[in-house]
C-alpha cells in the first residue's frame, strides 16, 4: 500500500473493530454444543440488541468452565400491588429466582415474570410465557445511558456557554470542535427551512435532539454496546415530541398550507374537487413524516448493530469451533 493515508485509515479502523468486539462475551463457548448454529447466532444477536437489567461490560469463561460477568447491577423497580424495589444482582444474570418479601420473580429473555419459589415459567402453545408480567419501571441499561447522556450534555454545553461568555464569544478548547456543528444546524437546517424570522425559537430543541441522537449513536459504537437509539420506544418518544412541537407552535401559514394549499390561485368552486383529495393527503402527511423518521432511525441503528454483532460473532464462533484461543481475548 503506497498511500500512507489509506494505511492509517485501515489501521485505525481495525483498532475500532477490535474495540467494538472485545466486549462481546465468550459465554457461548460453553453452551455451543447443544444448540444449532442458527439459534445460536439468533440468541447472540438478540442478547446484544435488547435492553437489559444489568450493565454488563463483558464476560469470559475461565479454565474451569465458569462464566464470569464483569459489570454492575441496576435497580429493578416493579409495580406489583405496590412498588417492589431490589437490585438486579439477585437474578444472577437470569440464572436464579429473585425473592422480594413473599414474591418471586425470574428473568426470561430479558423480561421479568412473576413465578413461584422454584421459578417455573408456564408456556402456551406458541411457547410464550403465560406468567403474570408486573409493570416494569426499572432503571435499565437504556435509562442509565439516557441519564448519562443528559448529564454529559448539561455539563458540556453549560460549560461551553460559560466559556463563550468569558471569552467574548470566541470558541475555546472543545468549543472549536462543536462550533461548526452548531453553526451547521443553525445555518443549513434552521435558517434554511424555518427562515430568518422564527428560527431562534426552535434552536434549543433542534440542538438538543441533534446532540442527544448523535451522542447516543456514538456510544452505541463503543464496547459498552448500548443500543439506545435502536430502541423503538426511544424513537417513538422523540417523534411524539417533534410532532407536538411542530403542530402546537405552527403558525397561521402552516395551517393555511394544510387546509388551503392553493390559496388565491383559483376560485373557491374550482378548489372543491381538488381539496377532496389534497386535504386528506396533507393531514395524513403530518402523521406519516414523524412515523417514517422514527422507523428510519430505529431500523438504521438496529441494522447497524446486527451487522456489528454478526462480525463479532464470526470471530468468536470461529475461534470457539477451531480452538483458536488467541482470537479470544479474556479467554
Amino acid at each position: 500500500m503506497r498511500n500512507p493515508l489509506l494505511v492509517k485509515f485501515f489501521l485505525v479502523s481495525t483498532l475500532f473493530f477490535n474495540a467494538a468486539i472485545f466486549a462481546k462475551d465468550a459465554e457461548m463457548v460453553s453452551e455451543e454444543t447443544n444448540t444449532d448454529l442458527k439459534t445460536e447466532i439468533d440468541d447472540y444477536i438478540q442478547h446484544h440488541l435488547k435492553d437489559s437489567h444489568d450493565f454488563s461490560l463483558f464476560s469470559y469463561t475461565d479454565d474451569d468452565e465458569v462464566t464470569h460477568h464483569v459489570g454492575f447491577p441496576l435497580p429493578v423497580i416493579l409495580w406489583d400491588d405496590g412498588f417492589v424495589v431490589f437490585s438486579s444482582s439477585r437474578f444472577h444474570h437470569g440464572e436464579e429466582v429473585a425473592v422480594s418479601g413473599d414474591k418471586y420473580y425470574s428473568l426470561y429473555h430479558g423480561k421479568i415474570y412473576k413465578t413461584d419459589a422454584e421459578g417455573t415459567i408456564n408456556y402456551d402453545a406458541e411457547h410464550h410465557p403465560t406468567n403474570i408480567k408486573p409493570l416494569d419501571l426499572s432503571i435499565t441499561k437504556t435509562v442509565v445511558m439516557i441519564v448519562l447522556t443528559g448529564i454529559l450534555m448539561l455539563l458540556l454545553f453549560g460549560g461551553l456557554a460559560r466559556s463563550y461568555a468569558k471569552n467574548g464569544g470566541i470558541a475555546k478548547g472543545v468549543g472549536r470542535f462543536f462550533e461548526p456543528i452548531i453553526l451547521y444546524i443553525r445555518d443549513d437546517i434552521a435558517i434554511a427551512t424555518i427562515g430568518e424570522k422564527r428560527y431562534k425559537k426552535y434552536m434549543p430543541f433542534l440542538l438538543t435532539i441533534f446532540f442527544f441522537i448523535w451522542f447516543l449513536n456514538m456510544f452505541g459504537l463503543t464496547p459498552a454496546g448500548v443500543n439506545v437509539t435502536g430502541n423503538i420506544a426511544i424513537t417513538t418518544a422523540l417523534a411524539i415530541l417533534t410532532f407536538l412541537i411542530t403542530n402546537l407552535t405552527g403558525t397561521k401559514d402552516y395551517w393555511k398550507h394544510l387546509f388551503d394549499p392553493l390559496g388565491d390561485s383559483m376560485p373557491w368552486y374550482a378548489k372543491i374537487p381538488l381539496y377532496v383529495i389534497l386535504i386528506p393527503i396533507e393531514i395524513l402527511g403530518i402523521f406519516i413524516k414523524p412515523f417514517s423518521l422514527l422507523i428510519r432511525l430505529y431500523a438504521n441503528m438496529q441494522a447497524g448493530h446486527i451487522v456489528m454483532d454478526l462480525c463479532s460473532f464470526l470471530r468468536i464462533g470461529l475461534a470457539a469451533r477451531c480452538h483458536l484461543d488467541w482470537l479470544l481475548p479474556f479467554h
Partner: protein, 66 residues
Amino acid sequence: MTIPRIVGAGLIVIGVGVGIGRIGGQAMEAIARQPEAYGKIQTAMLIVAALIEGIGFAALFATAEN
C-alpha cells in the same frame, strides 16, 4: 415461505434504491444549475431521502420472519 420473503425484500431494496438514487441525481442537477441554492436543495434532498428510507425500512420489517 422463505423465498417469497427474500424476493420481496429484494424488490423493496430495488424500489428504495431507485427512489433515493433519483433524488440524489436530481439534487445534483439542481445544484449544478443553481449553486447558490446548495443549502436548501441539500436539506430538502435529505428529508425526502429519509422519508423514503423510513417507509422502505417499515416494508422490510413486514417481510422479516417471526
